[in-house]
Symmetry: D3
Subunit: 252 residues, 6 copies
């Protein structure tokens, strides 16, 4: 079975540099897949991406060595399993607020006896190879988003859930939940503190910590702090800001 | 932030005239958007419309001043939030039968502290403008469908849910639930009575009442009764009936 | 091989009542296919329909007995043959202005020795049946649009082209070419005269005459005049006018 | 209303031979629909098929007499109802593990008073005919997948659920749940025994038993055992194995 | 009829700043449309964009004031007319090498008597307004690409073609045709000289000159030289370079 | 630049075993790409594949080492260049009947000075690598279909066209053109003779000969005869025949 390079990086205590895909298009995904990311996450939650859009995006990513991940819209077993069957090597699930949420996520990502994932790895077999069934449980990543006050209150319960591979902080939602303006580059002390609390808890429980960042500088800082899956912005932001800068430069 | 003209009409105690889209196509949506409707609702429940079909339909509607709404397939937070992120200015949710249902709908439509909506208004930012986060909670409409006997039994609880902007009667399902043949133009006294009960309850609680109508005449009547969001038929019915009439006229 | 009911009607000197599809969607095509048309023409020229959109539209039409036709964007052999391979039972080709144009159209619609159509009836085999190759040349219709002054000047040459099954008048383009405002209901005497000239020439040469009409009344008139393929408006016009009328009725 | 030929076969105690569609494409579905299957199931769970892909597949199947079914991704009312509105004549639902699961499935498949299905049979009306509402409850099939140890423990409760038309065994998941390697052709005695237990229970409760098979030989055996809905492999397996055999034959 | 703002800018002797779309996606087009471009060109030649992809892109652009243009794959009347019917306000046509090429391009862009464009402005009516037919000939832009040695040899003939609104230099192809490595920022004296020759000829004949540029700096230089339609890079380059820079910054 | 493995095989005087794709779907293309073919040809002529369908198919093929080719619908420069820009490593062009046809095909496949291909290798750069421009002319294959009596009459002229890499016999069309029933397994002596004549001419002129075969046995025979690009059937035939055999086996 094809290895999951994120796991390899994590075993070496290195951070995976992750790109983010919100444009529902195979070609833009393929362009992104050639820019040097360790992994790319197809965002089915806040991206404009539906399941059928995601399939050619996965194929586009699979033309390279970049590891394909997906963020699902919600903790719903149907879409988690569909994305895994389509060849994703990890699921980032939003709004994991309780131990029960974390258990349900993991159950959807693992075949019995570790979980309740239904068997039928349609495209995963092509991507990963014929021995997918044997190694899937140890290869595929289950990553829980920690992004609410409620999750902070249940940190230990979530982090200690057997089978949880990683957590992923959504700074915008976390800030919003704590009463602040949502931003990917939080400076509010209480948000920073919450991020550090989550990071410490993840490390304590041997769970790999991840976070979404608004800039390369922010991502560097987060890696230094100890995060091991860092995302820089997204395809939509890259496109918008590069185009805007070109136009603005010309207009001035 | 771009205003929600339905709210403006409601503040003036005027009815919004709503069109209904069941054809999964951006071009037919754009044609409809040029016919003078105050709003258009993309029907992801009974229309043949999936999420990915809805995105170009929203873009087509956004070429005009028509307000874009969506009816979601079911009370499921993932699709509610996806449609809002895609730029819908209101969600009509089927089968709201209890106070808890209503609360869950509203939670999915509102950012904290009023709700649990996750932050990431991908296309909504383009449609509404950069200050979306500040005004979204007061702009986006949460509309609960009242269409079962169970909902009638729980009317007060549903109508008094904080944050509920409107209700929307599905006469077909309401009739069916009461034991009659489903129709958009009910004449059965018990169905009429139920509609009047819902209307009275909505007014009592300051919730804007809406209803689906089978004809212009029916819509006029409903506006006179006090409904403030009235839908006339749908794109599929307009197409079918106009074509059928042309063929029948020629054949006779 | 499945019969071409338009040919059957023509043998009985009856007119085929044709619907017109400009919305690129299988569902709207299927709705149209249930309204009683003898045939439906997918408009790849002025409709918003590309080849890939046309395939599910053909499948939708094939759920009924309605005969599927296509108007191609231009006299280009590639798209003519692709539409036939996809199961169309006739091609309406715009802007046939000379005998050579007509010959090229027919060559693209017929297998050797009558023409140069390449063999590979992918979906046509499923739609028509396994003996497609044997009967295709006598089943599939080649219909030339007569819609310019140049075509009027070359009428005899065009009409006498061996293998030409029908002609189809585009009143808008014909009027425009003669110097008048384009309309589907021409009243300008010189346009009427041109239409009658084409009709007479078609009858003289045993070619079935067709025409696009702006209303049922116009279509009736054209049938009485002798036209044998009459189209009434289109899906886009039906949708727009029915919706507009509903809104206007309500607003007044 | 168009009859459901699976019910007709079942009344005659005959088995329906079912094909399986995992390729998200209308053309491959139409090819399959011409090969003699009694029914075809669009697999929205393990197939690479999203809702929007399924619509043209249903249209393609409807060009023939083959009965269209769908396997939904999960027990979620929204997608069950959407597939029925799109014209499916039966729903196969995965992971029905308890009596409550079975009740929820049936509620989603039936209009009141038997269930809670919402009214709006958009395309079903075209496919089935105008009297759909009157006969839908007795025509549409609700089929529960029995594929876990938990379901085996709750067999009587599930099988006796009023309105359950059929059950469908997923041998891979059933084997996996019992601790064995997943396979469509189980030989493990405990899996065989479980299959026979399910079959006996289905017959006892008058529920039609179905099963997915890995080969024609296996399907024959299952029919002899008493199964009345047997699936042979899938479009993806047929394509892969026929192509592989051609290449391998040439290489040797 | 909605004005063509490029013509307005040109009348003021101002340059239109043009963006370029090669990603076949409505959402990326809408993002681009919000970055301040005067116009956006959908590239059906070298972009990965087919006709059906272009329709939602046009709708996305039409949500803003940005003027929609298209570069067609080749001088073929079918696609030129289809893009105009879909609402493009100008056509950039590659490889116009002779006076006859230029005449054919213009004929495809203009209704009689100036040209041979067929009448049926499906979506253009919605975008431009009901009086489209009256003003289309003076609104829509016909722009010829000058990008070969052959075109240089025929400059006067091309530039003096009645109805030619603009020309557009493709520096890559022009360089290649002259024997040099293709680049959007040519420094080769013979390529520079050719560009200046084309510019001088355009001005002499009152044709608005345009050019594709590899950078904002290059675009500024071209505006100073006298170009009036300048494109900076493309969506694909913006996305690739911004993403690559983020990754590279992080890795170092 | 990524090598073209067909050229490598040809240099070793080995035959490339080619698969054929007529199903417009990325997933079926990916399944085919895993079955051991040296190359896969996307059939835009008789397949149900439009340009936009072909893009995800190319991405799917690019997840493997299989060489991607395309058969275009017709000798039209726009689509030839679009398919090359999308990353095809060779073009098979139907109906090359004269030396001029062959020259036009080659001109469309080659950058100046060998041809007139326009520069803009959008996806080809990602697939082949950044030095695409330098090596494309020697890497990309131009393959002319010989399938008419007219082509047989012009064999020497066609075969001796500078830059022609290969020819490809369409036995169905060739037979049809010679007056026989079209078949992929011709037994008619005059068709066999024509095939041998083409083969001999190809070898004489150093052009690699290819042919479409109806079976593995036929393909083996053709390789022995000297053909160096042999296609076995197609995805549609594999799917249909494997499914039909399964059903028939069960029914008997």
């Amino acid at each position: 079975m094809r290895e999951n390079r994120i796991r390899t990086l994590w075993r070496q205590d290195k951070a995976a540099v992750n790109g983010w895909l919100g444009i529902p298009c195979g070609f833009s995904a393929e362009i992104m897949a050639h820019q040097g990311w360790d992994s790319l996450t197809i965002d089915l939650q806040h991206g404009l991406v539906g399941y059928s859009d995601a399939v050619p995006m996965l194929q586009a990513i699979s033309t390279t060595e970049t590891v394909p991940l997906a963020r699902v819209p919600w903790l719903e077993p149907g879409i988690v399993m569909k994305m895994l069957d389509a060849g994703c090597y990890g699921i980032i699930c939003p709004m994991i607020n309780t131990r029960a949420d974390a258990e349900n996520l993991i159950a959807a990502c693992r075949y019995a006896p570790q979980g309740r994932r239904s068997f039928g790895p349609a495209r995963a077999l092509l991507y990963a190879d014929g021995d997918y069934q044997t190694h899937a449980n140890e290869t595929v990543l289950a990553i829980a988003m920690i992004e609410t006050k409620e999750a902070l209150d249940n940190l230990d319960g979530i982090m200690s859930t057997p089978g949880l591979d990683g957590i992923y902080i959504g700074p915008s939602d976390l800030g919003l939940s704590l009463g602040f303006t949502p931003t990917l580059d939080p400076t509010e002390p209480r948000v920073i503190e919450a991020i550090e609390t989550v990071l410490a808890s993840a490390r304590k429980h041997g769970v790999s910590p991840g976070i979404h960042c608004g800039s390369t500088a922010g991502a560097k800082r987060m890696i230094e702090l100890g995060f091991r899956l860092v995302t820089i912005q997204s395809d939509t932001r890259f496109l918008a800001s590069a185009a805007k800068q070109a136009v603005d430069d010309l207009r001035t």
